[in-house]
């Protein structure tokens, strides 16, 4: 069935798949816009940041360390650090883009937000990842992020604290669902345990966002170690 799907069918299938995440990103974008307004960014500047950077985590970190006048070195380096995991994400999804032309691969990478990457990985595990399906998950998610940032910036502090209704938990919840989907047996369990332990430990002892890189590298090291152990046993 899926082998014969037309591009438009794939595009709409992508839109359906990303719908829960579009609902979840809407309030986050509103909050981002409102926070940016309190830091003195104009609605246009806020929208521009969401459109050009399109990486929620690093945008919130930038708001955390925002100064007047803005320090491009500070926020640029922070974005590099927060998003360093994207190197791994892009290498991983890059091996699953056989249906993409060379140019399309690079264009697709420009939109490699966590949520879109995770959905694409999940899709690639089940069937062939196509450019139309990828465009179907990117388009509504991107437009919602940019649009909700603008709305939040215009309406400002009208939005309260999203933790009261638990909406801040929507993304961790999505990631948990996806992690469950990547389970392939005890070997995955060891990777998850190493990543989780390193992440929590570094998060506890080291300020900033080093915990993500630390956890990811610990998980990778575990996978490599398992591979070597299997080779030696063979």
């Amino acid at each position: 069935m899926l082998q014969h799907s037309r591009p438009s069918g794939d595009f709409f299938a992508g839109m359906r798949a990303i719908f829960p995440l579009v609902v979840a990103v809407l309030p986050i974008g509103l909050v981002f816009g409102a926070v940016a307004a309190t830091k003195g960014l104009s609605p246009f500047e806020t929208t521009l940041m969401s459109a050009l950077v399109f990486a929620g985590g690093s945008q919130f970190v930038a708001m955390d360390i925002w100064t007047h006048p803005a320090s491009w070195i500070g926020v640029g380096f922070a974005a590099l650090l927060v998003n360093i995991r994207h190197v791994l994400m892009s290498a991983s999804i890059g091996t699953k883009m056989q249906s993409f032309s060379g140019v399309k691969r690079y264009v697709a990478m420009l939109f490699l937000a966590d949520e879109l990457w995770a959905m694409a990985e999940f899709r690639a595990g089940a069937t062939r990842l196509t450019p139309a399906w990828y465009a179907g998950i990117v388009t509504p998610f991107y437009l919602t992020w940019v649009g909700s940032s603008l709305t939040g910036a215009l309406l400002g502090a009208f939005f309260g604290n999203p933790t009261v209704v638990g909406l801040d938990f929507a993304f961790p919840a999505v990631f948990i669902v996806l992690v469950m989907g990547f389970w392939k047996g005890p070997e995955t369990g060891a990777v998850l345990a190493a990543s989780g332990a390193a992440s929590v430990a570094v998060h506890h002892f080291v300020p900033g966002v080093w915990y993500i890189a630390a956890g990811a590298l610990a998980g990778l090291a575990t996978a490599l170690w398992q591979h070597r152990a299997r080779e030696q046993a063979a």
Binding site: E45, F169, I176, V200, G219
Partner: protein
């Protein structure tokens, strides 16, 4: 429609840093020979990265978050994503309201 030059440069710096990280994995693939070992490492990237992102929320943010993560994980074994996420969000909201 105001655009401060310093802010514009800061936004461009953030965008450049983000694009650099997102493209460099793909560039690396072009320059690195694939073998079994590297394939095993790349296969481990999705669970390793996702776990690293959520671990502090799941294990070190408080009982409400830890229990809601467990509820989400259990729900995900049977239910579609949207339902599991709704269950997770509702659980964390209820537990926080209960003072956990």
């Amino acid at each position: 429609m105001t655009l401060d030059l310093n802010i514009f440069i800061a936004i461009l710096a953030m965008a450049a840093a983000t694009v650099f990280t997102r493209v460099s994995g793909l560039v690396l693939l072009h320059h690195v020979e694939m073998n079994e070992r590297r394939r095993a490492a790349i296969e481990a990237i999705p669970p390793a990265v996702l776990m690293a992102v959520i671990a502090p929320t799941a294990f070190a943010a408080g009982w409400a978050e830890t229990l809601a993560c467990a509820a989400t994980a259990i729900a995900a074994r049977r239910l579609p994503m949207l339902m599991s996420v709704v269950i997770g969000v509702a659980t964390v909201a209820l537990l926080r309201a209960a003072g956990l």
